[in-house]
Symmetry: D2
Subunit: 357 residues, 4 copies
């Protein structure tokens, strides 16, 4: 089943936190989107009332989309015309604001961390757990309306979860150690001072980053049993670092499996052949191949590989047997596209394709 992207009008959408770094990515990715049309931009009091072009200090490599430039910025809390709402809000305000709009009947597709672990809130990666959408009915019932929230994971978690998904499916993950090397854009525009990171690496990221990477994959790769989410049965240890890279989180992964894959080639083949519902549905933002396995001995690399499939593919390389037993590999995810705004967009497309909008 595919969705015909021509024969209907584009759905009007709102972006919350539209002037921030994730918000700007939403605005960029929504330009020329075949299903969605950017209709409303929402930001803080300070920006409200201005033209978007004046309120947003635009910092992406592409030009500010013309259609977005002249939109008037609305204030957080204002009543929206759009039912579909993308949230690029900072976590300091996202929790309450998203709750408000969901309770007003909006479908809030959020990149913020606040509701990710909610008991009836899907933490969605369409290639992995599209079935978690079944929790939406439970959430709507709780809210007593049509509104609900779905979330996408932490930027590093997306890369990790996708890289291991085919291995978990076939052989079961037992234990993982992950070390991330994360790009500065993950901290937002002003998040990392240049004086802090030039000629340097910082072995720490605030906001309980390590805890997110250790816990979110459990929910993502787990199951919705009709009443609650049941964790996947593996354990993870994470050590995170900030590196002087613009975009693209790279990570080294060591893992042990529950069942013996017999050969490294079997693992590589599983990565290479991984495909899922977004590909079958031909969702507009979905990559043709969610995972790119790269044979070159020194790949993936952030600058060379982050933009594969418009930043929506996760790249994997150097999969090999470890001297300790278990396996080593390297994974890369474009943190502000597949790890943030692009992830949310794909989530919304899945909801639309499933008739949940």
């Amino acid at each position: 089943m595919t969705v015909d992207s021509v024969s209907r009008e584009r759905i009007p959408v709102a972006v919350l936190g539209a002037t921030g770094s994730v918000g700007q990515r939403f605005v960029q990715l929504l330009a020329d989107h075949p299903w969605f049309r950017l209709a409303e931009v929402v930001a803080s009091e300070r920006s409200a009332g201005k033209r978007y072009a004046d309120a947003a200090e635009w910092r992406l490599e592409t030009l500010l989309p013309t259609e977005a430039a002249s939109l008037g910025v609305m204030s957080l809390g204002d009543k929206l015309q759009s039912r579909l709402v993308f949230s690029g809000l900072d976590s300091s305000v996202a929790g309450e604001a998203e709750e408000l709009y969901a309770n007003q009947g909006c479908v809030v597709v959020s990149n913020a961390k606040n509701h990710r672990m909610g008991a009836d809130v899907p933490l969605l990666i369409p290639e992995i757990n599209a079935a978690h959408c079944d929790a939406i009915a439970t959430q709507q019932k709780r809210r007593g309306g049509r509104g609900y929230i779905v979330t996408n994971p932490n930027c590093s978690t997306v890369g990790l979860a996708m890289a291991i998904a085919p291995l978990e499916a076939k052989w079961g993950i037992d234990t993982m150690h992950v070390t991330t090397m994360q790009a500065i854009s993950g901290a937002g525009y002003a998040g990392v001072a240049s004086y802090a990171i030039l000629d340097n690496v910082i072995p720490y990221i605030g906001g309980a980053e390590e805890h997110k990477i250790e816990s979110e994959p459990q929910k993502i790769l787990g199951k919705w049993d009709g009443a609650q989410f049941v964790d996947a049965g593996f354990r993870t240890s994470a050590q995170v670092n900030r590196v002087p890279v613009i975009d693209g989180h790279l990570m080294t992964i060591w893992l042990s499996l529950k069942n013996d894959p017999q050969s490294v080639d079997a693992l590589i083949d599983a990565v290479r052949n991984f495909t899922a519902e977004p590909q079958a549905l031909n969702l507009p933002t979905a990559p043709e191949r969610p995972l790119h396995y790269i044979d070159a001995i020194d790949r993936p690399q952030p600058r060379l590989d982050r933009d594969r499939e418009r930043g929506m593919a996760v790249s994997v390389g150097r999969l090999r047997a470890s001297s300790l037993g278990g396996y080593c590999m390297v994974a890369l995810v474009h943190n502000t596209i597949r790890g943030a705004a692009g992830a949310a967009l794909l989530n919304a497309e899945l909801l639309d394709a499933k008739g949940l909008l």
Copy 2:
């Protein structure tokens, strides 16, 4: 016992590969050395016969030492006046050249990888295995003369081995996972193209870097039993990366112990209180404290911490219990000082203090 550094003449020394990046560090560190005096500089045919100032394209932040500038560059293989010889040679030529000089009666203190795993060649970190010098007599007997070779480990290995030494000594290491983020200077001046590494990380380093980190600590933390080296009994898995940092290899470490330390604080105290023979001997290049444990949540960092104790201290931080069991920590080593030329210098000082020169 300490060595009196005033009452005697300085020992003349030679540097092999003196124009390369490790060689330049030797020349820098030997300026004003209380025990050793740079007397001979040796390089490839191409440089031979020139003044050192003309042959070396000097690239360090300090000025070329005046005494070194006017030395005439000798050719590799030339007969040396100095008995003590530091080798900063590239591994493509180090094997044979070091063998030659050792067989001629020289004490070759080498940074090259070629002889590190030799059956009677100490792979020396004076804070850890000064007792491995006992193998020297065996080596001299084999050579039938007074000459011998001692080596220092791979630059990352030094940081790793020192960081874990007090833990191995007290509780025994069982298993380790290490991910390194290594500075570009580790590859020599022209080793990493800027086009390759700016805004990037490369998850690979040639020359079997991962294998070195997995195997060398076994020898270093093992024992010389009078006839051969016996490995320490732990296992290590390494994943290496090159990052856009000038100097300083940072690494994340996960490890499990054979015996229960009861608390994280016990581990931290062991790191903090670590001291050894070079400190007792007051060797001129030895740091006052070989390990600096830093409490700040986001340290050590290469740019801020690599120069502690003139680059000779290894910094450790973020030691904590892992969600998997075992412990996580971060370590940093100045790769061209403690991880290369400074390591060799300290080795030579130990040999001198032990009467082995």
Copy 3:
């Protein structure tokens, strides 16, 4: 007049130096080109006989084009099937090789510096001096055949010449001071060691870079009088620097004019409204607007503005009156696209549109 890009077969072309950094850009830009089809790739002896995918260590952010991957690499000097030949050769070999192919009847569109100042060789920027193509007939007569060479300028020169073209046309340039801040890709893949440029600026570029910038604009903005090129009548002083930027040469320009423009706004309008023959001809690689004047006080910036119009537009900003008299401005050019391979491609399109192929 526009050229119909649909109704005819694509012209087969060869790329000389196809495995180098400029050559890779040619291969990238020729993929899906509406008029030209990459038919032959030529490189050094070392690569000859291999598949292009194996010979080229592909280093661009986009994937190696499928059609190029399986081409067999030919050896420099081999007889070509293609009449149109793009040269991304290094200047050490370009002089002779381009001469050879031109004398064999090929149209050699070169990025190398060797023939730029040739007495009958156009140094072409289609927006500025398309009329210089008149020299081709003279050159063909000299060669006694249909072959000829056209060249594009030095990468910084392209940015400078385009930025000043509308000012020269309206008011006449008298004197210029230029300081460049040039990206590392301008030196080729291995041209700048990371150890040399991280946390650094190098106030020098070899190969007489400053001389090129001081002399080439004279020819470009001058005239072909039917028998020879006559220099434009201004004088230029250049000081060049290498900066840690991947792509994009930024330059500060101070200039004085022969005639009074009355206002800064007149100058800005001239930049904004600049358009020329490639735009009128609708050449496929031509930018819609060759010059983008950016109002923001801190632009253009290499990372944010180098990719405007697929790297083919030159960006200009901060045009203002100088405290000294004269005017200041800042210009930016994508050095490997508009300043190299893209420039050559546009030159070839102009030749085709003028019936000179």
Copy 4:
């Protein structure tokens, strides 16, 4: 005449803005100073009452000096015990606070821009205009007390003024064009976001940076005529850029002279031989040679040359005749040492040596 640095007690001093980036440099440079002893640290309300070690988030490569660590932070406006006060205050508060302390009788040696152009306030570079101290008596008379303010120039201005000082003295400067490439530390710790500057150059610096560079040298190289400062008679045009460099402002300079130096060598000799009152007085912070002329064709470079003479020497290179007439050169200044805290320290030493404290 030299000052004996042993036979007297060290003078207690205060640092205003002690937790900021310039303030930290003051604290670093005052450790072990032979004449001055850090006695008081002053910062904003937020830090007041804390130990300095707790209030300052220390970010320099050397460790926080032990003596400073335990000082209690005072609040801006608190009465000070020290008569000598170094100000590293931000310009938003420096104007008023410095005025307050000067009127209370303190000698305020300031790095802030607020009072630099004051009619009776020396804008001091001891190598150039030590005689401007004669204005202090006038200023004291105006204030009706012993207190006064002296200032040091903008960080780029220091490098420019010193590099041209010997040329101005011998041949007279007529006109200058300057393009700066300034390090990120010039903007303070959080001044430049890494997302803004990695793989980038920003052709703009706020706070009227260009105006400062165009106007301050006029005062510095001018004269105090007993009643007022008289400008030097040259004109300057400046274009400024921020580059991804930690420390060290590099600048290209083109200049024309009033009198003919006959040869480039005469200019180079004047730079090489430049020496002045701080050297004659043997001031502790003074470099042995204020200007280092470097012959290498690609120097000075920020990373390699910024630390010459502990960051107090200005490096000059590539002095050559310009194709336009006049001369080109390149200069480098360590912006947070010679261009800020070190400059102020040297100013205070001059005041002390002249008996003005």
